[in-house]
């Protein structure tokens, strides 16, 4: 078994998802090599062969060019598995590579049992094992599913790759995250609102509870998309990653993207009407209740202390 791990680089840095790639490689065993479009000034912590294409020459988001670079490396290395992160980079590039290569692509892999990828279905309410019928497979790994217990280290032996490729997608630049005053990563207590709060006005309940516990309030993606809360309060893969002492998830079902942003919290309380909601898998305590009834009472009792 040989894996080609596709590391990600953005704006001068190797992204942290490399820990998942290495954790996965350790899990499946066998040989592995790595590929990255990046820079020699920022090499990934990796002991092994790294095929490095220069981001300045090949562009940070030029999927057609990155595809050609990867295909050249694949031709040389003949891997059984081509492994991406399930991220904005991976889900754009992986299908292009799989399509050309004749490999099956299995997305959002959360487990790998007996050489079989396992993926979530329906917001992680169900799981699905996938039988691969092609000679190899392209996988994208769910963030955090294959993490390492210790940060990766080491220096790669670099082999440079380059091509003269054109692309129809023109990269114009990055736009930074909206600058906001709220840095949830520093909050010791976060009370977050999910779609289950039902309406915009109920944000005040969540804010009141956060205040009563001496913390900040956050929100899941649907709440931010509905404009019930500002983007700088969003917790999850496209928002902030947090690790407070106490996280209270109100009306949050527990989509994987949200869990990835908060599951490192020290203590997690979930308030949800659905006792089978996936948030229950990470919560230390699940209060099965209507938050609009429970939260006001909780706030009153906390404030009366």
């Amino acid at each position: 078994m040989k894996s080609l791990l596709v590391a990600e680089y953005r704006d001068g840095k190797v992204l942290g998802s490399i820990g998942d790639l290495l954790g996965f490689a350790a899990r499946v065993g066998g040989d592995h090599v790595m590929f990255m479009v990046g820079s020699e000034a920022a090499l990934p912590p990796y002991t092994g062969k790294l095929y490095l294409a220069d981001a300045a020459a090949h562009g940070e988001y030029r999927p057609g060019v990155h595809k050609q670079l990867l295909l050249a490396v694949i031709e040389k290395e003949q891997p059984d598995l081509v492994v991406f992160s399930h991220s904005s980079y991976g889900w754009d590039l992986a299908p292009r590579v799989a399509c050309v290569l004749g490999f099956a692509q299995v997305s959002e892999v959360v487990d790998y049992v007996d050489n079989t990828p396992v993926v979530p279905v329906c917001n992680a309410k169900l799981r699905r094992t996938v039988a691969v019928k092609s000679k190899g497979a392209v996988l994208t790994l769910q963030a955090g599913a294959f993490g390492l217990s210790e940060p990766p280290s080491g220096s790669p032996s670099v082999e440079k790759v380059q091509i003269d490729g054109a692309d129809r997608v023109e990269f114009l630049g990055y736009e930074a995250a909206e600058a906001g005053g709220i840095d949830l990563s520093k909050a010791e207590v976060i009370v977050s609102a999910g779609r289950g709060i039902g309406k915009a006005e109920n944000i005040s309940l969540i804010a009141d509870l956060a205040k009563a516990l001496g913390g900040e309030y956050g929100a899941s993606r649907p709440v931010v998309d509905s404009e019930w809360a500002e983007h700088d309060r969003q917790v999850g893969t496209t928002g902030q990653t947090v690790a407070p002492k106490l996280y209270v998830a109100c009306g949050i079902s527990g989509a994987i993207q949200h869990l990835a942003g908060m599951k490192k919290s020290d203590f997690i309380i979930a308030i949800n009407t659905d006792r089978d909601a996936p948030i229950g898998d990470v919560a230390d305590v699940l209060a099965v209740a209507d938050l609009t009834k429970l939260v006001p009472v909780l706030v009153e009792k906390l404030n009366a202390r």
Binding site: R10, E60, S87, S88, W91, D92, P95, R96, A98, C99, V100, Q105, V106, E108, T116, V119, V121, C122, N123, K125, L126, R127, R128, T129, V130, K133, S134, R168, V169, E170, L172, G173, Y174, E175, A176, E178, E188, V189, G215, D225, H231, Q234, T238, T241, K245, L246, F267, I269, R275, G280, D281, D284, V285, L286, A289, K293, V297, L298, K301, R305
Partner: protein, 257 residues
């Protein structure tokens, strides 16, 4: 401008799911079905392009059994011009490559300038189909789009990356764009538009005419994940629950010290 919007019908994710008798998908009986949330943004974006003016024609396509006509009719009521159902009772067992193969076979030689779809479905969530269609039709493909601006044949897009960062990119049509949540605000169909939609063309094609890609994977088994357990489940009246939660917060965390 000719636009194709590819949509999927999915169950409401709040449903109580059951595993199907063959163990390879969820049981589709007794579920409430809706238009895949990501695809609503694709439909809305197509209609917004049409509203920019010019001669624009929007075809909306969905693959599946007869009930997918409901999703198609919603898209027609939102403003698409014609619907196509690819009749396929086995759709839930098709892998993304087969789905993309059906779409690209349909779209080939029809001269679509823009193909829009959601970035993923809510049930299967593979996030592959749109980009595969772009590859198969040899068109530019941009995924995970949260910003869309079309001027002439030039499209400026914002892709959503992790951590709130966006990448700005440009492509010249024809192109395939996959839509992320938050791209726009999908409209609710009005009653007059629902009535008008009933008169719009809705063509049905057998999947056998369009199926081309050989599957490279298949679902082996669908099952409920083991509950990790360990977590305490509390039930009761609000006042009693509140007292217990405060007690637990005091005992297990330092935040109420």
């Amino acid at each position: 401008m000719k636009i194709l919007v590819c949509i999927k019908q999915v169950p409401d994710m709040e449903s109580k799911f059951k595993v199907a008798a063959d163990g390879r998908w969820y049981d589709t009986a007794d579920l409430a079905w809706r238009l895949n949330e990501y695809d609503e943004y694709a439909v809305e974006q197509a209609v917004l392009v049409k509203e920019q003016g010019g001669d624009t024609d929007i075809t909306v396509l969905s693959i599946g059994p007869d009930k997918v006509k409901e999703a198609i009719k919603k898209a027609l009521a939102m403003g698409c011009d014609r619907g196509v159902q690819v009749v396929d009772n086995e759709v839930s067992q098709r892998e993304p490559l087969e789905i993309a193969g059906i779409i690209s076979r349909f779209a080939k030689d029809k001269g679509f300038d823009l193909i829009l779809t959601g970035m993923q479905s809510q049930d299967r969530g593979s996030a592959q189909v749109g980009i595969l269609v772009a590859e198969m039709l040899d068109m530019a493909g941009v995924s995970t789009v949260v910003g869309f601006s079309l001027a002439g044949a030039k499209l400026e897009l914002k892709r959503e990356l992790e951590g709130g960062v966006k990448a700005r990119v440009a492509v010249t049509l024809p192109a395939v764009v996959t839509c992320q949540l938050g791209l726009n605000t999908p409209r609710y169909p009005t009653l007059p538009n629902i009535m008008k939609a009933k008169k719009k063309e809705l063509l049905s094609l057998p999947v056998s005419d369009l199926l081309q890609a050989e599957p490279r994977q298949q679902t082996a088994k669908v099952y409920f994940p083991e509950k990790k357990g360990g977590g305490l489940i509390l039930e009761g009246e609000p006042a009693e629950l509140a007292d217990r939660l405060i007690q637990i917060i005091k005992e297990k965390t330092a935040v109420l010290a």
